[in-house]
Amino acid sequence: MSVSINTRKHQPECSVWSSNRRTFLRMSGSALAVLGFAAVGPVDLFSIPIGMGDKDKVDLGSGDTGILNYAYALEQLEAAFYTQVMTHPYKTMSSDENRILTDIRDHEIVHREFFKAALGANAIPGLKPDFKKIHFNDRMSVLTTAQTFEDLGVSAYNGAGQLLTSGDFLLLAGKIVSVEARHSAAIRDLLKPRSDNFAPDAMDGAKEPDDVLKAAGPFIKDSKKINAKNLPGEK
């Protein structure tokens, strides 16, 4: 099993994820150096350059690396959204809502930083969000957008599971997707407390990357430059 990278330089010594499952998690010293977490604060995403020059396509890559980049893109989006929400909290935000949205922001930052470290040199650049259609001073706008993002995240991870070839990555996706589902349920409970809203179906959705990226596209600047064609399952 190999994780092939089509368009980026493959630097095996910088990859956390060895293609060999037995050596998964082992890294050379230089890889560890690459993995050192930069001091990234909650608002950092906004200061990251777009990373997409006009000629640059952001290639998610292929194989398991491609799926991890795909997840990284979604986590970037979520982290940026909640960071913005908590930087300018809507006026009527209750303490319960404040606590939940703060927690979710922090979880999404953890997810984002995790993928960034995991991908190392293979990570796509920081994406720039486009939130101009979201009214951050309006509770309904914020919470319904949050619900959209969380449900999208759940269906994205559920759909991506079968595209992964590494059981270790699958486990990591599983560890994250249930937290996204908890987020969704909490947000849905804020919108319609103690109703049937927290879990709309006995089985959650499972979406393929194309559909997820189409839905996420309007919230990402220059989203058309994201190249998902090399992801597994693409024709």
Partner: protein, 258 residues
């Protein structure tokens, strides 16, 4: 992605919210449109989809999941049969109960003749929770315990389903719903919707095994502890951790008589 068709194949009753397929399936096997005919239609169809001869390791995983779903299904049916659930929370439990019944039906339909029978259950776990079905707080605590266990149990088994992409996806689609249930019940209990460290919160000490190991900060070989910009609590909350089959069975064993 053939998500819709998987659903239809597995459980037309579920799918019927989107399309009137229930009738189609029932008609197809000449049994009219009665609700009661649906499980039979599902069984017939799922056998043709997955084959009667699923490998033993897959059957084992699905029967393990089915056992947990039987337990949950019985727990919610029993609770809804009492008057202890306040009206304000009843919709939540009706919703969860419906889902668990659907999960049982789905897994049974996939397993066909290989499905294990529903076990005889003891809601008091051998007397450890004598008021399980009369004290709402105890009932809530057990509900949270079952749901958080279910999340971790499915997580531990996903890798064992990799050889069958359709079934892996089905398991993932159930897994995330268990997490939704867990969050909602935790919120009713005034707990965070997510698990902080290995804390069982206000649950009784007997449930600690459900939360052991949730304080893991090593993800993919990187220790996330000390990640700047976030509180330490967020690092463990951001990941649910798997439990092995043995760990899960040890947790639920007191509730299973035979």
């Amino acid at each position: 992605m053939t998500n819709e068709s998987i659903l239809a194949q597995l459980d037309p009753e579920l799918q019927s919210r989107l399309t009137p397929r229930r009738d189609l399936f029932a008609k197809a096997i000449g049994m009219g449109v009665k609700y009661a005919s649906v499980p039979i239609a599902v069984a017939v169809l799922s056998n043709s989809v997955f084959g009667a001869d699923l490998p033993q390791d897959i059957t084992d995983v699905l029967n393990f999941a089915l056992t947990l779903e039987y337990l949950e299904d019985a727990h919610y049916k029993a609770g809804l049969g009492t008057k202890m659930i306040p009206d304000s929370d009843r919709k939540v439990f009706e919703t969860i109960s419906k889902h668990e019944s659907d999960h049982v039906k789905t897994l049974k339909s996939v397993l066909g003749g290989s499905a294990v029978a529903a076990p005889n259950l003891d809601p008091t776990a051998g007397g450890a929770f004598p008021d399980a079905l009369s004290n709402y707080q105890t009932y809530l605590a057990l509900s949270q315990a079952f749901e958080d266990t279910g999340v971790r149990a499915y997580e531990g088994q996903a890798g064992n389903l990799m050889s069958n992409k359709k079934l892996l996806t089905v398991a993932l689609q159930i897994h995330s719903v268990e997490a939704r249930h867990a969050c909602e019940i935790r919120r009713i209990r005034q707990e965070k919707g997510w698990i902080t460290g290995s804390s069982r919160g206000t649950l009784p000490a007997a449930t600690q095994a459900i939360y052991d190991g949730e304080d893991n900060t090593m993800q993919g070989g990187k220790d996330l502890a000390g990640l700047p910009g976030v509180p330490a609590s967020a690092i463990t909350e951001a990941f649910d951790e798997p439990l092995t089959k043995e760990q899960v069975l040890a947790i639920v064993k007191p509730f299973i008589k035979s």
